[in-house]
Symmetry: C2
Subunit: 439 residues, 2 copies
Amino acid sequence: MKEKVEPRTLPGFMELLPQDQITFNNMVDTIRSVYEEFGFLPLDTPTIELSEVLLAKAGGETEKQIYRFMKGDTDLSLRFDLTVPLARYVAGHYNDLIFPFKRYQISKVFRGERPQKGRFREFYQCDIDIIGNDNLDLIYDAEIPSVIYHVFQKLNLGKFTIRINNRKILNGFFESLGLLEISSDILRVIDKIDKIGVSAVKEELKSLELTEEQIEKVLSFLAITGTNDEKIKALKELEIQTETFQTGLYELETVINSLRSFAILEDYFKIDLTIARGLDYYTGTVYETILDEYPKLGSICSGGRYENLADYYTEEHLPGVGISIGLTRLFSQLKEIGLVGESKTTISQVLIVPMDKENNAYVLETASKLRNKGIKTDVYYQDKGMKQKMKYADRLGIPYVLVIGETEVKEGKVAFKDMISGSQELISVEEVIERLTNC
Amino acid sequence: MKEKVEPRTLPGFMELLPQDQITFNNMVDTIRSVYEEFGFLPLDTPTIELSEVLLAKAGGETEKQIYRFMKGDTDLSLRFDLTVPLARYVAGHYNDLIFPFKRYQISKVFRGERPQKGRFREFYQCDIDIIGNDNLDLIYDAEIPSVIYHVFQKLNLGKFTIRINNRKILNGFFESLGLLEISSDILRVIDKIDKIGVSAVKEELKSLELTEEQIEKVLSFLAITGTNDEKIKALKELEIQTETFQTGLYELETVINSLRSFAILEDYFKIDLTIARGLDYYTGTVYETILDEYPKLGSICSGGRYENLADYYTEEHLPGVGISIGLTRLFSQLKEIGLVGESKTTISQVLIVPMDKENNAYVLETASKLRNKGIKTDVYYQDKGMKQKMKYADRLGIPYVLVIGETEVKEGKVAFKDMISGSQELISVEEVIERLTNC
């Protein structure tokens, strides 16, 4: 007897059992359907690209994580996000695209990070982006969170908040304090305020050589509270006259007002002046999304506005705005806290169980009738006892079983068994269809 | 100005423009919906696996084509099909699965072949398999082509034929001639009969040292013609008594009869004694699928019955039957012959075009009403002329445009423009919804 190879997968690579896979796919379907409802076009770029092309812009941490290898003489890499392939795509197909180009892509990306809880090396991103040709109206900055609002409403994960900021407000504010050059260092400190508290932040700002006065101003800026309108008002009252700050404030106010036009409930979006995100990339509006009851999950959907998508590939000026859901990570977190994967899910609504092989024609005719009405129907053909057959339905979570034997065929009916209540009735296939399509 | 990197993709990697991507996705959706209609469960295995695991069974040509590389100290490979991952999955999750285990997987696989017309290095496979625990009823050999029958009916690619054979008939036949040991060589020759003709096949069989008598028997075996029933009858009349042949004949006849129970039109399946497929793998029923009007495309969907799925990973005996559609290749072929991609496809059914920014609330309210009814709706927010706005709808193939300006808002209506007829009417949103949900 040959020695067996252990059938294991790599750490950091999610693989689901069928029930969880169904749940996961349902989430993908929901996300996709909302993306399409808003007119986003599908895209599917190659998993493997030329390293020279894919890494044109990368560097530092990203480059280290990449799955990069030679095939023959060719230097290849697996995509590590969906934004770089989008940039390459728009630059390469520029003349064939219609702008604004609204695309979604739901695909796996690959990052060879040290595997740890909640971190994956292969994971799904569900991205939408809107790319303008030379310019892109500010209202698209409100359309993006409005799409996300509908996605999370439909995913039904409880109350959530889309946090919104504008990078120009932050930059303009630091500029007014003469701190623009170290703004990214300051933002890194500020980002920790929820974790380490105000006094620790104060200490760290001191070590960045901010004066007492500067520190006070930064802290009182961050301490701006109230409703969205109150925050806008407070920002106006700071009377910071730099052009960057004023532009940022105008943009933020416009986006907030547009969100109201998009009929997003006021409670679901909130100005948060501490959000910066991807320091070198985003230039205007930025977003994060938090599940209110599970703030520890962190942001489950983030993005923002960027000035130029593809300057490594093309001279064309391509401003855009986009957002990404890291679905593999989100799913694994939701499963851990029990928000998904608790109840049984199923593909088939009905299992047909033939008593014997004599009545195959009737069995298959019945299956066809159900499938023609869009009712997903499995048939159990194995020669096993009734107990085994019922166990199959039960373990797959199939809610209804049709038993077909001699009696049923003779009467032109089926024995309709409700797996939850356990009740069983002799009814016609047409009646089965009526019950299942009305429930 | 920085030098730009050319935004190119690798040869052998398909990347589609949005219109074609929509068509491609529609095909995937059709395939998936039929797979689910028959109760197949979804699976999504990792793209990257340990080489040791993935290549446990591989060798020869396969191994050369694989994308294999080191990451740190780990020897990794990209999956080259969906069957090996299925074997690894079933062996690894054996205790958590319910048998017969019916799964589908629609995923990309990777083969570093020399790129040539119609060959891809990254391509989608759409697989279904049914795995039994220790045994699997023969009727599943008929369920598989019955699923494929519905898939290709719905894909609407014209008349097709599912060709069916049984490896045991071939093996038993060669056994009866004392040619079992060189049967794979003979099958390779036979496989070329359509291309090179009978007399060339005769010559090649001679060079395999077959006697005149053996060659005559092989050729008259292959020459068996007629309806499915006539072929079965002719095979019976050969009176070959080897157990393998008789088992094969019984299986073939049973599968053919079952296909009739599955209500597949007789014209769509056909016994073809020349089909062998994957010589070392399949052990019983084998399938190929041909588009009748485009026989040159070759088999667009193939598979068969195997005795044991996962003997490299487990002691469990796991017989199965499956089939695979190589969708990337099929799509590219269909596009080339003009069977897909000719007419405009669209995601959005409606484009809303605001005349100006004054009426955003009304515009967005209208969009919401449509989306709530499941009508995919895009809104054009860019500040451009009406001509540009209409061009956007036209180039995206969006069939209806709603223009909203001062008049429309005042009257509580929209200007409903049919992009094909060019007609325009002032009607209510409710009327728009009624027209679009009834068409």
